[in-house]
């Protein structure tokens, strides 16, 4: 049985230390005298860590045992460029390796291609890298209606000859892919019911999750859907903007959960957040934080084993002022590939850590 992976990219580098807070560690307050989250704004999860209270909407999921938090996720020799680090994540590469194919596509390398309606993966934001590769038919579609309209204008080219011109062959193949996706989606999405509960609309993520919900409830047989929430590059005066983002994220995820439970599909979806890096442990002079390394990520879904996974990186054992990761992100990907699609992959790790997330 397959599950749909719903990836949510937190663009800009989410501050993990102010998301899942090591509240009991006195060093936390030493490093972050101005921007540390106060004890009474922290929802305790255990005797060491707690959630930022703006994430309160996630507590229902936590209590139901279908919210997992993987702590200390990162990779060796971390790169601090947004651009490069997200590429490392999206392609599951080592820090010094440049790959062009996304990790979800890699997961299907050599596997029987998933059966679909002309599309295997739908990106509802703009970064399609995780599912970019010849194994998957991926489309980027922020707005279903607009996509279908645009696709309609490109009429079916069925059977057109390329005359041995490889560039033309490629163009015709892509056109064919668009047509096939549109055909499959048009029927399914036309009758898709609106989500039971409307999404908060302050950020684009609400609209994206609305579309994602329709794709899931219309039972479009995709292996992955990708969305994103931007604005996490909090170099200065970060307290309010970061709180606001966490609030948006939590309320949207809570709505998603309610909608999929109502549609009886919560067991068929795994939601996972990720970000290119966490932020530095010590706050900077502008009451913000600069680019850092490891951070926690959230995994939610009816089939998810809730709770804390991995170890919180020690604030007393930093490298160059940065957290040392305890879980390699490729181990998380390997766990997802196995748990969502039954694909055994190590993503270049000699010994991927088995996480009991699913």
């Amino acid at each position: 049985m397959g599950r749909i992976l719903l990836l949510i990219e937190l663009k800009g580098g989410n501050d993990g230390l102010n998301t899942v807070i090591p509240y009991a560690d006195p060093k936390y307050r030493e490093f972050r005298p101005g921007i540390g989250v106060a004890r009474d704004h922290t929802i305790q999860l255990d005797e060491k860590v707690g959630l930022h209270n703006k994430l309160e909407p996630l507590m229902e999921s936590w209590k139901a045992g279908d919210l997992a938090i993987v702590q200390g996720v990162g990779y060796p020799y971390p790169n601090r460029s947004h651009f490069r680090s997200i590429e490392i994540w999206d392609t599951a590469s080592a820090s010094n390796q440049t790959l062009s194919e996304g990790w979800i596509a890699q997961a299907f390398r050599g596997a029987t291609p998933p059966k679909g309606v002309g599309v295997d993966s739908i990106v509802v934001d703009t970064n399609a890298l995780p599912s970019t590769g010849p194994e998957l038919r991926t489309i980027v579609m922020q707005d279903a209606e607009n996509f279908l309209r645009q696709a309609h204008a490109l009429r079916d080219t069925g059977g057109m000859k390329d005359g041995g011109n490889p560039a033309l062959r490629h163009l015709l193949a892509v056109r064919q892919e668009i047509n096939a996706a549109a055909k499959g989606l048009a029927d399914k999405l036309r009758d898709a019911a609106a989500p039971k509960e409307a999404y908060p609309q302050e950020v684009l993520l609400g609209r994206q999750l609305d579309l994602a919900t329709r794709i899931v409830t219309a039972r479009v047989p995709v292996v992955a859907i990708k969305a994103a929430l931007g604005g996490f590059d909090t170099h200065a005066n970060q307290v309010q903007p970061h709180e606001r983002l966490l609030g948006f994220l939590a309320s949207n995820l809570a709505t998603l959960r309610k909608n999929l439970i109502a549609a009886n599909l919560w067991n068929d979806v795994v939601v996972m957040t990720y970000s290119e890096f966490g932020r530095r442990v010590r706050q900077n002079a502008s009451a913000g934080t600069d680019h850092g390394t490891a951070a926690p990520l959230f995994v939610m879904g009816g089939g998810v084993k809730g709770g804390l996974h991995g170890a919180y990186p020690s604030l007393g054992d930093l490298t160059d002022g940065d957290l040392r990761h305890t879980v390699d992100f490729r181990s998380v990907f390997a766990t997802m590939a196995q748990g969502c699609w039954g694909q055994q992959r190590d993503f270049g790790l000699r010994q991927p850590q088995r996480l009991s997330l699913l």
Binding site: E87, T98, T138, A153
Partner: protein
Amino acid sequence: MVAPIGRRGFVVGTAALSAGLWPLRPGHAAATMDFDEARHLLSRTTFGATPAEIRALESQDYVATVDRLLAGVRRDAVTSPPGWLHEGPAELQRQVQVARAEAAEAKGKVGVDGKPLQPERPLQEQSRELRNWWIEEMLATDQPLTERMVLFWHNHFTSSLMKVRFPPSLFRQNALFRREALGNFATLLKEVARDPAMLIYLDGMRSVARQPNENFARELLELFTLGEGHYSEADIKAAARAFTGWTVDRQTGHFKTRDNEHDGGEKTFLGQTGRFDGDAIIAILLNHPRTAETIVEKLWREFVSLKPDPAEVKKLAAGFRANYELKPLMRAILLSAQFRDPANRGALIKSPVELIVGTVHLLGLPVPEKTQLVRMMIGLGQMPFDPPNVKGWPGGESWISTYTLLLRQQFLRRIVEATTVASMEGAMMSSPRNRRIERREQLPMRSDEGTMQMAEPRPIEGRSLRYAGDEAKLGPTLAGVDSATLLRTLLPRAPIDTVDPSHTPGATVASALLDTAYQLK
């Protein structure tokens, strides 16, 4: 396309160019060009050509035309450079500090218009000006082949603003690429190794004897010259040591050497041993047959077809290696039977820059402000001065995905539906102001930046090409041309979708721009 000859005395005579090594002309091809062949030559050596530009070459001698194209190559840009060109990194740093302080002060305050004050961001502003400057040059130049080559070198010797964060150095690197656009590859390679943007981009500036940084050395071997499989890790380490001590002056942003940071010891590189420095390493690389082959293969993919002919590549590379002069190489490529083979017409996919610059040039669209064009290029996956990584844009088929094909169509559809041109003066004279504003609102990809909304009204006016019938006014580049010629100008092959031959010229242009074959060159 009459080439101004003799700029700076740089033109090499035709006789010198064809000195023995290179075939004068392929046996079976005709001496003179017909319309379609002239179109092909121009579509590969410019950003796209208008009917008048094609006709100017029609029935001309092919070889003489190629020689004229090559002789005209520029070494300097026609567009005047941005004003901050000579500021050093220290000055930019100072401006960034000032802007930060002002931003902190302005926080929470509103301007006279009631909107929050937008702090200035000097680095971003310079980067924007730099991109716009180059796009301007691509449109303004009388030698588009020069800019095609600059773009080629930018994609070969990649450097990115995102990492370098010092626009003047990227400007100077761009100027270097233009100076040697079709000059000498050996000179270019030596200069690139000393280029400050490159030294910053691949960490050469930090590479010192006690801790050599291998980044530049690795890419020099893997991407710039030999290619994977032709060197060992030990060669990379040796090369890295040889380049230690080459750095960038932090005050001026210019190249300098620090002898005390140079590793003067003995190194073994590609089987040779000596106290090599950077230039010695480059000399060894230039002696290696793979270097010329790498460049020839890449030029082939850029100018001829996606599938280089191995035998032909070897032959061309052998000639190229003799002195690394680029003009004779380019001449041989353009005169090759494969280049002239009609089967290779329309066998390459336009890059986003070619698609956008070419469309603007073809339609004669006046676009005084280039920011929106750059934004479209970014959307389509090619941000000038910011290649995705050190390998550059992979290009070819990878330009087209389901996403980018729909975006390309959307860009072209907006041009067709909303921004059809009339002559600039005509529109300005005849239409009421508010109609112009209305048109402006429909321009492709509206801007969300405050500064953009202040841009002067765009002198673009018109009606949908498709539906305005005979009233659709084509710009001066296409006006008065019959439908059949328009089709042959805009498309490298027969249209993919049916085009009604009895269409009005406006509707023909609309159909051609939206035809899948328009993505080909």
